[in-house]
C-alpha cells in the first residue's frame, strides 16, 4: 500500500511538472507577453527597460526556470489589474467556487442516485423512460443556456430566487461561506442546480446501468432466496455494489465541475475563481491566468489521487490486490 502510494505521488509530481511546462509555453509563447504587458504608448527605451525588468530578454529555458522557482515559492506574479499577488487573489475566490462545486456534486448524488435507481428498477415504465429522456437533455444542453432559463423562470418570471451574487455570508474557519445563511443558500440554489445538471445525468445513467447489471446477478437472487425484504435487497445488496463506480466517477467529476464552474459563475455573477479567470482573460491579466491554471492542475491531480485511495478503500477486491 505504501509503495503504491509513493509511486502514485511521484507520478503525480511528474504530471504537475509537465503541466508547468505546457502552461508556461501556452501563455508565454503563443501570446506575445510584450504586447500584453506594455502599453502601446510606451517609447522604445521604456519598452527595453520593462522587457529587461520582466526578464523577457532571457533565453526561454531561463525564463522557465525563473517561473518554476517562483512557483515553488508560491509566487506566480502580481495581478496587473488588482496589483495583488495572483495566488492570493485566486485563493481568496476559491471558497466561493469550492462550496458551489461541492454542493453541485452532492446534489448530483442526492438527485441522481434515486432517479437512476428508479429508472433501473422500472426501465419500461413511463416515468423510467421520462427520466432517461431527461438525462439526454441534461447531457446535451449547454450549461449557460440552462442557467439563463433558470434565471428567466425563477428570478424574472416567478421572482422566487435571486439571480446574482453570493448573498449573505457567514464566517467559518476565517472564511466567508454562503451555505451558512438562509440568504446565501437561496443565492446558491440556482447556480448549484445549474452546475450539477450534467453530473445528475451522469450519476443517473451510471446508477441505472449498475442496477440493470446487478439485478440479474446470482447473489441478488440468493439474497431474495434468503427471504430478505425488497428494501434490504435494493438498498443494501444492489446499492452497495453500485456505489463504488458512482463514488469514483463523482469524485473524478469534482475536478471538471470546478472547471465548468467558470460558465455557471459567469451566468450567475457568482464571485468565485471561475468568474475571476474569465474577467482576467478578457483584460489579459496574465499572472492571474497562470495562477488559476496551475491551481486547477494541482487540484485535479490531488482529486485523482484521493479518488484512487478512496476507491481502494471502498472495494474489498481492489484492496486485496494492492496488498498482495
Amino acid at each position: 500500500m505504501l509503495t503504491w502510494l509513493v509511486r502514485r505521488l511521484i507520478q503525480a509530481l511528474f504530471v504537475v511538472l509537465a503541466m508547468t511546462v505546457i502552461v508556461f509555453i501556452g501563455v508565454h509563447i503563443i501570446g506575445n507577453p510584450v504586447d500584453i504587458l506594455i502599453s502601446p504608448e510606451a517609447d522604445q527605451a521604456e519598452r527595453a527597460r520593462i522587457i529587461a525588468n520582466l526578464g523577457l530578454d532571457q533565453p526561454l529555458w531561463r525564463q522557465y526556470l525563473v517561473f518554476l522557482n517562483g512557483a515553488l515559492h508560491g509566487d506566480l506574479g502580481r495581478s496587473f489589474v488588482f496589483n495583488e499577488p495572483a495566488l492570493k487573489l485566486i485563493a481568496g475566490r476559491m471558497p466561493a467556487t469550492m462550496e458551489l462545486a461541492v454542493t453541485a456534486v452532492l446534489m448530483s448524488v442526492v438527485i441522481g442516485v434515486p432517479l437512476g435507481l428508479y429508472a433501473g428498477l422500472k426501465p419500461n415504465g413511463l416515468l423510467g423512460r421520462t427520466i432517461m429522456a431527461g438525462s439526454i437533455l441534461g447531457f446535451s444542453l449547454p450549461t449557460f443556456w440552462v442557467g439563463l432559463m433558470l434565471i428567466m423562470v425563477f428570478a424574472v418570471q416567478l421572482g422566487w430566487l435571486p439571480s446574482t451574487g453570493r448573498g449573505q455570508t457567514a464566517a467559518l474557519f476565517g472564511v466567508q461561506w454562503s451555505f451558512l445563511t438562509w440568504d446565501g443558500l437561496r443565492h446558491m440554489a440556482m447556480p448549484a442546480l445549474n452546475l450539477s445538471l450534467f453530473n445528475i445525468s451522469l450519476v443517473l445513467r451510471l446508477t441505472r446501468a449498475g442496477v440493470r447489471e446487478t439485478l440479474p446477478m446470482d447473489f441478488i437472487k440468493f439474497a431474495r432466496a434468503k427471504g430478505l425484504s425488497p428494501a434490504r435487497v435494493i438498498f443494501v445488496h444492489v446499492l452497495k455494489n453500485i456505489m463504488i463506480p458512482v463514488v469514483t466517477v463523482v469524485g473524478l467529476e469534482l475536478g471538471s465541475t470546478i472547471a465548468f464552474a467558470v460558465v455557471t459563475e459567469s451566468v450567475f455573477a457568482w464571485p468565485g475563481m471561475g468568474k475571476l479567470i474569465i474577467d482576467s482573460i478578457n483584460v489579459l491579466d496574465r499572472p492571474v491566468i497562470v495562477a488559476y491554471l496551475m491551481m486547477i492542475v494541482l487540484l485535479f491531480i490531488t482529486i485523482n489521487l484521493l479518488v484512487d485511495i478512496l476507491y481502494t478503500m471502498l472495494d474489498p477486491r481492489v484492496r486485496l490486490e494492492t496488498k498482495g
Binding site: S140, L141, F144, M152, I289
Partner: protein
C-alpha cells in the same frame, strides 16, 4: 471487349436486394425520433446555408438597420413596414435574420472543427494502431493527458493565449476534440489489424500508407461516424459557451452563443426574446444532432446487434 462480357442489365432491378447500406438505412429509420431529428437538422442546415436569400434583412449591413427599432418585441412593425417576427436586438437588428446568420457561424465552426479534428485524430489513431510500440505509447499518453482535463479548461487555456477569432475557436475545438477520435479509431484499428485481410495485404508488401488508408480506415468508419456526430453537437455547444463567455467568435461574426450573450443583460428587464430565440435555435440544433447520433450509435455499434 469488355462490353461483350458484361451481362445485360436486368430489366427490373430487385427492389428488395439487401445491401449493407440499405440495411443501415432501414435500421436507422426504425426510430421515428431519429428521423425527426434528421429532418429538423436538414431544415436547420438549409436555413443556415441559404440565410442571405431567406432573411428579410442583412443584419450586418448597417445601412439596413434603424437604431430607432432597437429592442422591439416580436411581431412589431418596422418603420419600413416590415414585421419583426422575433423582435429586434439593441442595435435594431431583426432577430430572425440575426439568428439565421448566427446559425451559419455556429454550424460552420461546429462542423468545421469536427472535420479537422476527425482528420487529425483519425490519422494519429491509425498511426498508433498500425505502428504500435513507441509511437503508440507517445500518442496514447497525449490522448490520456488531453482527456484527463475538461474540454472547457483546455479551450480556455488556448483562447487565453490566442485571443478571439473564428479560426482560433476552430483551432481550440480541434485540440479539444482530436483525442476522442484518436482513441476510438485506435481501439477499432487494433482489432482490425489482427484480421487476416490486413495480414494478406502486408504479405503483398503493399505500402503502409495504402494499407492504412485503403484497408484499415474503411473498417474504422462506423465508430468514426458515431463519434463525429456526437462531436459536432459537442463542438457547437462548446463554441456557444465560449462565445457566451466572450472568448469565442468576435462581435463582427456573432454566433448563436454571442447573440445569447448580447441579450443576456436585457433579460432581467423582461426583454427575453433577444436571448431566448437564439437559445431555442441552439437547443433544437444540438438535440436534433444528438437524436441522429444516438440512433447511429445503436445501429452501427456491433456490440448492440439485436
Amino acid at each position: 471487349m469488355s462490353a461483350a462480357i458484361t451481362p445485360p442489365a436486368p430489366a427490373t432491378p430487385h427492389p428488395r436486394e439487401e445491401t449493407p447500406f440499405r440495411r443501415f438505412v432501414s435500421e436507422f429509420a426504425e426510430s421515428k425520433l431519429a428521423l425527426l431529428g434528421l429532418g429538423v437538422f436538414v431544415l436547420i442546415a438549409l436555413a443556415a446555408i441559404f440565410a442571405p436569400w431567406i432573411t428579410p434583412q442583412n443584419p450586418y449591413d448597417l445601412a439596413q438597420l434603424d437604431i430607432m427599432d432597437g429592442r422591439l418585441p416580436p411581431g412589431s412593425v418596422s418603420g419600413a413596414g416590415y414585421t419583426y417576427l422575433l423582435g429586434t436586438d439593441d442595435q435594431g437588428r431583426d432577430m430572425f435574420s440575426g439568428m439565421l446568420y448566427g446559425l451559419r457561424i455556429s454550424l460552420l465552426v461546429g462542423v468545421g472543427s469536427a472535420l479537422f479534428a476527425a482528420v487529425v485524430g483519425t490519422t494519429l489513431g491509425l498511426l498508433a494502431a498500425f505502428f504500435g510500440r513507441r509511437i503508440d505509447t507517445v500518442i496514447m499518453r497525449l490522448v490520456d493527458l488531453q482527456l484527463s482535463f475538461p474540454s472547457i479548461l483546455v479551450a480556455l487555456m488556448i483562447l487565453a493565449g490566442l485571443g478571439k477569432g473564428v479560426m482560433n475557436v476552430v483551432l481550440a475545438l480541434v485540440i479539444v476534440e482530436w483525442a476522442y477520435y484518436a482513441r476510438t479509431v485506435r481501439a477499432t484499428a487494433m482489432v482490425e489489424r489482427r484480421r487476416e485481410y490486413i495480414e494478406a495485404a502486408q504479405c503483398l508488401a503493399l505500402p503502409w500508407r495504402r494499407i492504412m488508408f485503403h484497408h484499415l480506415l474503411p473498417n474504422c468508419l462506423p465508430p468514426l461516424i458515431v463519434i463525429a456526430t456526437q462531436q459536432v453537437a459537442r463542438a457547437i455547444a462548446l463554441e456557444a459557451t465560449l462565445s457566451f463567455l466572450g472568448l469565442g467568435v468576435p462581435i463582427t461574426e456573432p454566433s448563436l452563443g454571442l447573440l445569447i450573450a448580447n441579450g443576456y443583460q436585457y433579460m432581467l428587464s423582461g426583454k427575453y426574446w433577444i436571448s431566448f430565440y437564439p437559445g431555442i435555435a441552439l437547443l433544437v440544433t444540438i438535440i436534433s444532432i444528438n437524436l441522429v447520433g444516438d440512433q447511429l450509435r445503436d445501429v452501427l455499434n456491433p456490440r448492440l446487434t439485436r
